[in-house]
């Protein structure tokens, strides 16, 4: 069962070495992602996109404000899956064990993970060690692991940016398929505007610093989607125009 993700009035700053003042990344930042919705966050590098993901994952805590995941009445028990830029698998555990360990930690039957391994076409590799797989195969294992916990929330941190475009395209399709099966709530951070248009229900463009929402674009296309849909290219151009508009004052300065 999916649940909402809510950032409410978040402040976050970092102390950098040799910097006189802390760097403010988020100031009174709010964003709500409805249950079952997949929101893509796009913006310039260093604007705070990854900070949002880390806050949602519980890897960092806000200086002010609250991050709520899942059911408001029972927020701490929202099951979380996350796909990172790198697969982040335990190299000394087999593919199957990597998935089983995540399922065990979430209290989910291992059978779901094994079915997902078949779904990502790696059923025959359950006893293989991650280092014996290609980069694309490892990222597919990471996808299977994220969904093997029967997640209410899935966080995606530039999940395909380290892969070649051909592999990335196939994995986007796979991700769409998994999303259709389990319908979790999602937050995707990406620099790839077409990827955002293809995968997301809503695209949030950040400007700043500190990060603020400068534009939100709804993607109305039903799933399963066809990446050749001209609407995606229109959205892609719209995002680029917004990002260029953001960059122009900086260049002028």
């Amino acid at each position: 069962m999916s649940g909402a993700i809510e950032f409410r009035e978040i402040d976050k700053s970092y102390r950098r070495p040799r910097a006189s003042a802390p760097e403010v990344v988020l100031r009174r930042f709010s964003l709500r992602i409805a249950p079952g919705e997949l929101v893509a966050v796009i913006g310039p590098s260093g604007i705070g996109k990854t900070t949002l993901l880390h806050l949602a994952a519980g890897l960092e805590t806000p200086d002010h404000g609250t991050v709520t995941l899942g059911d408001a009445a029972n927020p701490d028990h929202a099951r979380l899956g996350m796909v990172f830029q790198q697969p982040r698998l335990l190299e000394w555990r087999t593919v199957g064990q990597n998935i089983d360990l995540a399922a065990d930690a979430a209290g989910i039957d291992r059978a779901l993970g094994r079915r997902l391994l078949q779904a990502v076409q790696l059923g025959a590799y359950a006893d293989a060690y991650p280092l014996s797989l290609s980069g694309g195969q490892r990222q597919r294992v990471a996808l299977a692991r994220a969904f093997a916990v029967d997640p209410a929330i899935v966080l995606l941190d530039e999940p395909f940016s380290a892969l070649d475009e051909l592999t990335a395209r196939k994995l986007r399709l796979l991700l769409q398929d998994l999303w259709l099966r389990q319908a979790p709530t999602g937050l995707l951070v990406t620099h790839n505007t077409l990827e955002a248009a293809f995968l997301a229900d809503r695209i949030v463009i950040l400007g700043g610093p500190p990060a603020r929402i400068v534009r939100e674009i709804k993607v109305a296309a039903p799933r399963p989607r066809d990446s050749e849909d001209p609407a995606f290219f229109a959205i892609h151009r719209e995002i680029l125009a917004t990002l260029e508009g953001l960059a122009a004052p900086a260049r002028a300065a």
Binding site: R88, A119, D127, T167, R169, D226, S227
Partner: protein, 292 residues
Amino acid sequence: MTLAAEPLRDSQLARSGPAPAAASPDAARPAGSPITSGARRALAAFGPPLAFVLLLAGGWELMAASRPSPLLPRLALIWSELIEIVGSGDAARQIGITLGRIAIGFALAYVIAIAIGLASARSRLAKSFFDPVLVLGLTVPGLVWALLCVIWFGLSLKTSAIAIALGVAPPLALSLAQGLSAVDPQLVEATHVYRFSRRARLRHLWLPAITPYLLSGARLGFSFAWKVIVLVEIFGLSSGVGYRLNSAFSSQNVEGVLAWTIVFAVVMAVIEYGVMQSIERAVTRWKRVAEV
């Protein structure tokens, strides 16, 4: 990009050939007679050291035959001494006593090393505090620890245990601290995101990650421990391989000294190659699979 038009099939991504579920170094071996290739491998592994031992024995025998002296006993004399100490069961008894002392010293060293290694990996202050201690521990010769412990603790089990622990703990602690620092923080993050319990993190992340470092520290420590225990047994104990070596030395029994040295060297080789390296191979199997 054309995504929906393509099926989920991923044959272009998957590596050709069978899944590496059964991947092992053997998988890369071309088809052929397993007996022939097994014999070839055994010859490659044991041939050179065996050739060295034979050459050494031949050279010794030549020297002993050309300069007859009680200081250079012939191989036959050394062999008969060896048969006597092994056949009487004395070799097994004394090796057992010495190994037991090493095991106690090692256990103590592990306790000290884990405490110092964990503290050094977690805190810069602790690392600065312990660094001089570790450097001192690494540079002090085993002979000094052996002498000091005999002086301080006299003829007791404490002597060998503490002398070994003082010498073995520094390399172990350094290896442990290095291993802990080398664990990828991104993996640690992933286990937090997936809400691994403390026990699961320890068992599936920290222990496998630091095991190669612990093993390399243990191997260093083991070679140190052998030297120290022999010295302690020579100086201050009334049993063990070191004591027997000293007894043979006191009675000018050169073949006895050599026979005990051979027993000692064989046991060391068995532990190094048969135990330590086997454990290392087993726990780092995942790395070798990737190299195939």
